[in-house]
């Protein structure tokens, strides 16, 4: 049976969210942007009025101001966007129980067999768009097709507030003229490699010999070939959580630092944050990696293996060890990041050993402590309880 898959993509999501609670922004060029006092001051999301001036996501603030002097800037409020996102997802799940959230602002819906309830795809998609516009008050575009890939490609074709159908028979006409770089799943690196093979458009990719792609890209080559031909058998699977490969966080420091104590403090804050989220998902990592970006934008990453953990303390200990080994006091640091990966197949269960050392007891204690902190924060907010070393700095955190 032919499937019907929608991709619902929220347009200019952050700034649209802001507009719902601040009508002043409507109809005027506006954007959500990081704090200009920090150097992380970049455009996170511009509305369509601002985009007319050429303002784009990730653009530095002063450049955006130059292009559009009247632009209204709003600081980000991620908690608010999360809430709005949940509202949208709830609304969507009333149309189909098979829903896969792809990011904060987009999701796939498997609408196969829903015609009897909501009419043909074009009709139901109009209904969804209108409802999102009315209740959460947001704009979206919807791509309609028979698989996830084509629906995603379709949703990008008409923005904002567009509904695009892209069925398999439309592929040669609508998809093939596009550059390969526009393909979902093809990043800059892959696009460059493809260009190197003389492949510029998706059509050229679709006609390229599959074996050669396989040779060059391995399994991914076959995947690329199939996608270019509009073939994507992957299912719309609710909750892609198990596919989580790493949990990480990095921050651009408000000023370059040379002091390792300062760096360690920042690292603690980041480790604390990824530890919390790893515990929430029950993911224990076996690899800790740190990222150091120097003021000259030269970036290094260093990693080490540890025993599977999601404890902030253990992540931090491994992180500082790496930091100390690689600290160069002559090179000011601009950005610090830490991540854990190499998740245990199963973290929800631990075989207990007679030799639960080093510090088996201790790590149980630490686990209890950190889980208690998690619960307190859940109830009273992140700032309700913090390690003492973080008390000195309460400046706003602008992490990405």
């Amino acid at each position: 049976m032919k499937r019907t898959v929608f991709l619902v993509d929220m347009n200019a999501f952050f700034i649209s969210c802001e507009t719902t609670r601040n009508p002043e922004l409507a109809g005027r060029p506006a954007a959500v942007a990081g704090d200009p006092k920090n150097r992380s001051g970049i455009i996170l999301a511009a509305n369509y009025e601002a985009r007319k001036y050429g303002v784009k996501t990730t653009m530095l603030l002063h450049r955006a101001r130059k292009l559009c002097p009247d632009i209204l800037l709003v600081p980000p409020d991620h908690a608010f966007y999360e809430r709005k996102s949940r509202e949208v997802m709830e609304l969507l799940s009333r149309y189909s129980p098979v829903i896969e959230q792809n990011s904060i602002d987009e999701a796939w819906l498997d609408m196969t067999g829903c015609e009897a309830l909501f009419g043909p795809p074009l009709e139901s998609s109009r209904r969804i768009m209108a409802e999102i516009r009315r209740k959460p008050g947001l704009m979206c575009s919807i791509g309609i097709s028979e698989n996830k890939f084509l629906s995603k490609m379709a949703s990008d074709m008409k923005k904002p507030m567009g509904i695009t159908e892209l069925w398999k028979e439309d592929v040669p006409e609508k998809l093939w003229p596009l550059p390969v770089g526009a393909m979902y799943g093809v990043g800059t690196q892959t696009a460059e490699k493809l260009n190197g093979l003389g492949i510029e458009t998706i059509g050229q990719l679709a006609c390229f010999p599959e074996e050669l792609l396989r040779e060059k890209f391995g399994k991914g080559g076959t995947e690329l070939y199939r996608l270019a031909n509009g073939i994507d058998p992957s299912k719309v699977t609710p909750h892609a959580e198990h596919e989580m490969k790493s949990i990480g966080k990095s921050t651009t420091l408000s000023t370059d630092i040379r002091d390792i104590a300062e760096a360690e403090k920042t690292l603690y804050r980041l480790a604390d944050s990824i530890g919390t989220s790893a515990r929430k998902h029950g993911k224990k990592g076996r690899t800790v990696q740190i990222t150091i970006k120097y003021s000259d934008f030269h970036t290094i990453t260093r990693q080490k293996g540890i025993r599977a953990t999601y404890l902030t303390k253990e992540i931090y200990t491994a992180g500082t060890e790496l930091l100390r080994q690689n600290w160069n006091r002559n090179k000011p640091v601009r950005l610090l990041g830490i991540s854990i990966s190499g998740f245990d197949a199963d973290s929800a269960a631990d075989q207990i050993s007679l030799f639960d050392t080093p510090g088996g007891e201790q790590s149980t204690k630490q686990e209890k402590l950190e889980r208690t902190v998690d619960r307190i924060r859940e109830k009273h907010g992140v700032f309700a309880i913090r390690p003492a070393i973080l008390f000195a700095d309460r400046d706003d955190e602008s992490d990405s």
Partner: protein
Amino acid sequence: MKFTCSQKKFLESILTVQSAVSTRSNIPALEGILIETENDVLKLVGSNLNLSIESHTSATIQKEGSIVVPARLLTEIVRKLPDAEFEFTVLANNNVKITCLNSIVTLQCFSADEYPALPDIAESQPIEINKTLLIDMIRQTTFAVAVDEARPILTGALLEIDGKDVAMVCLDGYRLALRRGVMDTPHDSVRVIIPGKSLGEIAKILPEDDRKVSITISERHVLFDLGYTRIISRVLEGEYINYSQIIPEDYKTRVKVDTRILTSSMERASLIAREGKNNLIRLNIQDQKMLITSNSEVGQVYEEVPILLEGEELEIAFNARYFMEMLKVIDDPEICLDFTTNVSPCVVRPINDHHYTHLLLPVRIYS
């Protein structure tokens, strides 16, 4: 060297010693079987330095001597010889000729001088142990030896003898298996740690009869003398863990259960559990019954096992494989499971006597 022997008897001996032969060694002769005449019998030896097996078989010896024959080839050739007498002759340059009915095979072999000398086990008073008891002890414990070399001592089994009492213990950190027995003849108190692999080979070779095995322990080796076959194993040096300290005496929850019913429920639950990533089974112990559940991507199992509960109710989880491996070696119709908390060891014993004790550590589950 020259002898004649029956193909059947010779093959039997070869197969006995072959399990000790090195598959790859930097002493090429160790990849062979040493064949030696010893008065009017033939002695075959296979060894990998950790474990050596000697087998004796009767033959008609025409000329004394010794030679080392490549093990793999010899086994294959003798296996395929017709069931008849064959003649074995050592020619010049360590060539061996095997003649059987209408077949003649010549083989390039090694001089016996290249074969390392076997360890000398100092004469001391041997331990006399019943063969069936020894087989049971090995079968009921060695499944629990450590596989990884993180703690080399745990890849062995501890054999403890004190008067008439004998005990064998294996533990790998996640479980412990202890088997006790009583010997007919007392012996001085002695402790030795024998590699689990050696014990596995010994159990395979031991014929099941009522005869006794005599065990001689020296500083570095242990000798199992079965009469026609002698097995010499290196022992592991070091202190074994004080296992009796690990086994808890008290319990808060005691479950009495029919072994057969528990095993079949557990087997069904394992089928589903092993499809999952963690091979986990959960026990929910209530009055009169124990619920066993497992689930993975492929499905789930729910089992109710009738029990007698003494003490508190409890929810606990285990690795299904560890639990099954333990149940498989239990012969008694009824067993008793003792628990304290869901993160402390579970002790399993037969209801009526205490000749074995298993200890199993649970899996910590987070809700």
